[in-house]
Symmetry: D2
Subunit: 438 residues, 4 copies
């Protein structure tokens, strides 16, 4: 067990940089992250920012306000005595799901909030930003725990940046006029290398994070798992490969599907990934750049866990467990095949097919694992209201790994656990195959 005897991944490093450096760093990142959220709304009209296309999605305006509410509630109100809030009504309107904080406006009615206007929300952002920055710049500075709250708020806002994009994409898909979020020529995909299998021996492994960088509570504690020998595919499944599944009757063969998946397929009349439509035998897909032909070289995207699982069964493989995925990710450079966010669609797998090629694991599509989202052994949620951030969702959802083309690059890491319900498809979610070692 010697290989696993090291209890932390970087145990010798200090948990945090000195406080003053940390404040400076946070000030810069705060401005950058907060600004990027607003830049995401630049191509959108006030009406675009206000609409909600389904209960799972939220209006852009709500995202902009909620992330602000987060800083206001968990930092400013805690730090500044006598703080006078921007609008007391916002406490309810922009509380997402924190029962400990109080009442919440019903999630499915966020699209009815024509007021406050987008302008007022931007004022709200400026109002809170001023106070957060004031706290960070104050001579006495913030405590470690308060700086942690700032960091959490930034990570939180980065999560919502991805949601802004997925939710706008869904909204635009409901509009027969096919609005375009980001114009430009279609990307020229590289040739896809053949899928290869990377082998991993059985053994004990450390999984999860023990720092020193930021991690969500659900990535901890770092702990040991025993894994049988397995193999992982070198790249995500492509549209071309998924089309072969469709053409082989994949959506009409119950033996390929989980029982709940088959029931969902029938109820929802699924016959292809979300946003795909067939006309005269050709498949097109709605993208943030409008309706485009489905490119066979790109990773398949907007599939549910049920579709990922059925595809894997059809392909004689399976989905990886999150521990398998994380083990492999320890060997994969995050920068490797990462796709610039300006593209906002999954990139084709590039890279020469040489033996030494690293796995391409980050930044194209979130990869469904077969692992239900559950607490790690010894998991402790954050204390107080922030304990509701992650822990209470550990039921009925599945873990996705890797980050997508819509994920901020600095938000991607090997231990990150994203999670969605198995029937959800509006995220940039795709398929990574695994199989047992022969």
């Amino acid at each position: 067990m010697s290989a696993e005897s090291q209890p932390g991944n970087h145990a010798s490093e200090p948990p945090h940089p000195p406080q003053r450096d940390r404040s400076s760093d946070l000030i810069a990142r705060y401005q950058q992250v907060r600004d990027r959220s607003e830049r995401l709304a630049d191509p959108l009209s006030p009406e675009d920012c206000a609409a909600q296309s389904m209960p799972d999605a939220s209006p852009t305006k709500w995202h902009l306000a909620h992330t602000t509410w987060f800083f206001e509630t968990f930092l400013v109100e805690q730090v500044l005595p006598g703080y006078r809030c921007f609008d007391p009504g916002f406490r309810v309107l922009f509380n997402s799901y924190y029962n400990s904080v109080g009442e919440q406006h019903p999630r499915s009615s966020r699209g009815l909030l024509s007021r406050p206007s987008l302008d007022q929300v931007l004022e709200y952002r400026a109002y809170v930003d001023k106070r957060v920055l004031g706290c960070l710049e104050a001579p006495g500075g913030l405590s470690d725990a308060q700086l942690d709250a700032v960091e959490l708020g930034l990570q939180h806002e980065q999560q919502h940046q991805e949601l802004i994009l997925t939710d706008i994409k869904h909204l635009f898909s409901c509009n027969p006029l096919h609005p375009v979020y980001q114009d430009g020529p279609p990307p020229v995909p590289a040739r896809v290398p053949p899928l290869r299998w990377h082998g991993f021996d059985e053994g004990m492994h450390w999984i999860g994070s023990s720092g020193p960088g930021f991690t969500f509570d659900n990535e901890t504690p770092r702990h040991r798992v025993f894994l049988e020998a397995f193999e992982l595919a070198s790249r995500p499944v492509t549209n071309g490969e998924f089309l072969a599944f469709i053409q082989d009757g994949g959506y009409a063969r119950p033996e390929l599907w989980l029982s709940d998946g088959w029931a969902t397929l029938q109820t929802q009349s699924w016959c292809a990934p979300l946003y795909w439509e067939e006309r005269d035998g050709a498949w097109r897909s709605l993208t943030l750049s409008g309706l485009r032909e489905v490119c066979p070289e790109e990773p398949v995207c907007h599939v549910s866990h049920f579709e990922a699982d059925a595809f894997a069964r059809w392909a004689g493989a399976r989905l990886p467990s999150e521990a398998e995925w994380e083990l492999a990710a320890g060997q994969a450079p995050i920068e490797g095949n990462f796709v610039e966010q300006e593209l906002l669609h999954p990139a084709a797998a590039t890279g020469p097919a040489g033996a030494g090629t690293p796995l391409q694991l980050f930044g194209d599509v979130w990869e469904w694992t077969q692992s239900p989202y559950a607490p790690y052994p010894g998991y402790q949620p954050l204390t107080g209201a922030l304990g509701e951030y992650n822990g209470k969702f550990m039921s009925n959802q599945l873990v996705l790994r890797g980050g997508s083309c819509a994920t901020p690059r600095s938000h991607i890491r090997a231990t990150y656990r994203n999670y969605f319900f198995p029937a959800q498809r509006w995220q940039f979610s795709g398929i990574r195959l695994a199989r047992n070692a022969c």
Copy 2:
């Protein structure tokens, strides 16, 4: 039967003024009506104009575009050869329910149309207005049938003007910030005169319209009905009277309710009219001017047919039939107690309680009748796609009469048949009592 032997109400008048005069008149009215729709949107932000609070309601922007689509489809496209439409996608987006014209965007998804923007819709309006006015001003002019289509389009737009107000009121009621559409001091209601009963003898009567002014097809043909003797209340039921019903357990006594009404009450948890809320024993109501105390002198408003029917039973009375109502309305001046639309809430019944006082029947609240919305004997819908305007809704709805504080004054007439489903409450709908003659 001599009193009824006259087949029309104004049979000696010509059906239409000479064509040139008619065009001039229509030009003036077209500009006035079209302008008023846009004025109704003046207090609203683009987001206000885009949201849809329930499937029954539509966004303001949709109303503005749909009424334009109506002129484009039923006039401009018919009259101008080679007309190039503003946007071909609008043909589907802003078709409400005309199957003969083609596909329709799903009604419940109108709030997802963040595009076209409000500005684009206003451009669309200007684009179509220019062509309609061009047609009206052209030397050759329009045929009688085409002028009829213009007239229908204006009447249609006036209907949507009222809907803009009722739908915005509903939207704002969903927002905990209580937005205000129209500010101002609460009206000072006059003292309500005691309710008196006006008697009508049994006999044959002519009901419905035979012109010469505009009428919808559902108001025709003018025909005879036999009515037993009856009595009609001199004014609508007031909030104060309805409060007595509530305090007498009206919402908890099934014997007062129709079976479907009782089921609806339980499912929807009704305990007061829509928009009412109780706090510390006092009732307030959401109005277009914000949250206001319920004024006991004003006519009760935003009640369903079920509530109107239960109230009438509790009061030892009943709702009038539409024939009874129309018979009485023949004796009531429309100008009498009409309320200025700038007020946008039902007025208190005024007028001295003298024996000769006319009935107050118009312009406060739409009055539920007991009459299901059904075709008059010999009813013929308009030909072509416009046949879908009224006739296909003659199922499961009930007739309301009189017009409300939100109805354009020129849109009110004695033969007008409004209709809604018995559980609907978001219109300015109230209660008029009737009873059999002793």
Copy 3:
């Protein structure tokens, strides 16, 4: 107005026979009616009698118990001091919808009542029968009002006899084994005479009942209506005629349908009458005698109001109003084309096509009218709990006239108003055409 000057149809007859004769008559009829209900259950197993196929339908066992509960509640408990009920739990279980009597077991859960057993329900019937007959035979006898309650109970039980048949038919239609209620060879239909039109002049008419026989409260008061001239078809629409509607795309043409009807058709995927199924181009229909070929000569049956209305529009006609129907029925002998109940399916229209042939109006199918079920002018429900019998359902339903092959013959009369919701199809409901006089 001389023709209508007679205020009652049999005003000179006494309202009731002398009380002793009436008791004797009721004893005989009580035994006959109560026995027939149990005979209807003879072909059924205990499981058949316990199942409920949809909320609209009830188990046979429940019908047998509820009709008994009716006599127990509205007669025995009122007449016999200190009456000890058979089982106090039945007061709730078998109360259909009488809020004034107390709580009710939820309607949609009647099929879960495996207890009491069928045998116990038959004991319950015997227990109550003994007491009802005891009351009827007692020397002092019952008061007029109490005898009225017995009569109402018998009429009520006859209504449930028809429901037993329609509900079992629906239950068996849900079973792929196609159980047979009543075996036998298919009837040999007579040739259908061509449809002819009977004309009626405009005029005032008396409608409704003023006795002397039994009538439900909703048939009263007898009152005057003015009818325009109209024509009524000589017989119901046949399966063959309805097939022509199907083959002409009747179920795919929205312009033929009421708006609510079209929505229902799409939601329910209607493409033919209930119980019809097509295989290899041939239509078969599930009957109480099992699956049978659709006979073109028989009246079409198990159509909704929406289908009846669409068919009429397709045929260039309309449905009659209930007043038109009743006017015509005054001239039609009930015995004429009445079908023996042993057949339990609508008969083909027979009768020579001579000029003097009476209309065939009774006993084949319930005929949808265009008349919403509404109170007659001056309508007064029965007093007390029995006031809930009819009046509270006067909302959203439509009147059917004539009686079907499943209606007890003695239960059929010209003034009878049956009523169902426009989308309901599991009754023996068909189509009678009418049209305006040229």
Copy 4:
């Protein structure tokens, strides 16, 4: 890793006894198991056996037929050439969920199958029994794979025996008459010993089954897991302890609940375990012996995973993982505290509180674990249609362990994985606490 180096639990034993002995054994067990199913129906009427109280539950008659269909489909049809089935319609009616076999009667409509009658189903059972026994007794005998199918059929039937009891209990709970399945005096519970914690060290462990006895495919393959040190409670949570949770506001405190659990609680208005009702401050529970006072000494039962999880959080503990549970169960004798099925309610925890007391893990209540139902590493479903038995349900469900008072004793084993959805409560499901080692 020496302690875990043993790959199987009984690897030296032969996988099966000699074939002839196996046949004899199976004949005896076949008769015993098949007979017991019918004995379970002895207290029930035909109507009891036919009703279905919710989609999750099935009628007793359906259970009796489906288990027979299982032998017919997976054994008799495979073994006997030219076998003539009892009724071809049963192939669809009694297929539960095997898409590979063909169509299925809709699950939620099983209660509408008044035919075939209970008697016919018993005939069906005899018909198939005769052929199964004929196969088992034939000189040539059955192949190993065929004997495996018999064994699987018996295990399958034992699963349905428990479902017969849980489903009848639910059905009777819907009947206000409170039918009794099994009469008798309430059990006299022993005093509950105080809850103690049993500690387990961290380490690698073998989990799952490698035979030699029967196991379902989902219990295989036997494989290694690494577990942190933990502690397990000595007995299930009692009603008395759960009452303390209720009285402490457990059902009103969102911070104790998973997000989905809290939403379910609100939608379903949960305020106590299923079948509990409060009257005048005292709690009673519907049991198979009728309504009984809640006994504080008995294990709490009919709680969902959500309630179990919330209780554990309230108690400062957590639910065990299934691996933890199975590790502990290796040390617990199945016979120890097993409850006779004749009692049919969870027993109070007995046993002296001495240090050497074994854990009480079997036969009272199914114990919710925190483990989602997922495939073991290397899991392979059975081949052919039987592959649908377990594998396709590995989504959204959670594992329960231990067996309940309604589980046949011979059906209980340490590696057994039962699974239900987290909101389901109608099984005999209870709570076992665990916690991390200090």
